[in-house]
Symmetry: C2
Subunit: 122 residues, 2 copies
């Protein structure tokens, strides 16, 4: 697997992880400090096993890592992972202004700017 695909895969897992409301709540909770499975399970009407799975999903996505404290395994956020997510979004957010200028050009019938992009299709 090449570097590009690997980076895509990490994004996949990260966005996928945050797509669940329970996991997003876990992230919000962890932003105020580390917490164990028991801590995290309490606010939700789900079993601890389910929470444990959610943490594993967040962990595999690189958003969370865990330390060891006796039989407890407190989870905490990995700030770099969240930064990479905003970086991805910003990549496409920053260019939207110019793309709208291009849209306006198209609607005005001046499609030369766009066709330079369209040549790659078809």
């Amino acid at each position: 697997m090449d570097v590009v695909t690997e980076a895509e895969d990490r994004l996949d897992r990260a966005f996928m992880a945050l797509a669940d409301p329970v996991r997003r709540a876990i992230v919000a909770r962890l932003s105020r400090g580390p917490a164990t499975v028991n801590d995290l399970a309490e606010p939700f009407a789900i079993t601890k096993q389910a929470v444990s799975k959610h943490i594993q999903v967040l962990e595999q996505a690189g958003l969370v890592s865990r330390s060891k404290d006796a039989q407890r395994r407190p989870a905490h956020l990995v700030p770099e992972a969240l930064e990479q997510l905003t970086a991805w979004i910003d990549t496409y957010r920053l260019t939207t202004e110019s793309s709208f200028r291009r849209l306006d050009a198209v609607l005005a019938g001046l499609d030369t700017d766009v066709t330079t992009h369209n040549t790659e299709r078809k």
Copy 2:
């Protein structure tokens, strides 16, 4: 449904929408200008019906909106939606530094700072 839940719901749909690699690729493509279903379907080994569904998901998430041009319905990004996503992430990203200070305090046995947060549980 109250305001808080509604905002949560929008986040749900937005993250869920970006959790799919095809939809993320669509967003990337749209950042370079509006495109039709046919345009967007071409790079992928899936049917146009599938792409149409993906666009609808992005649309319901508020990330994309569509205009009308004869029988075509070109899609384009809604920049504000992406901004709201980064805003959510930043909310929890910014506090991580202080929460790590708190973690250090815990590991050092000075848990007074954390218990003030823990009182709300149990």
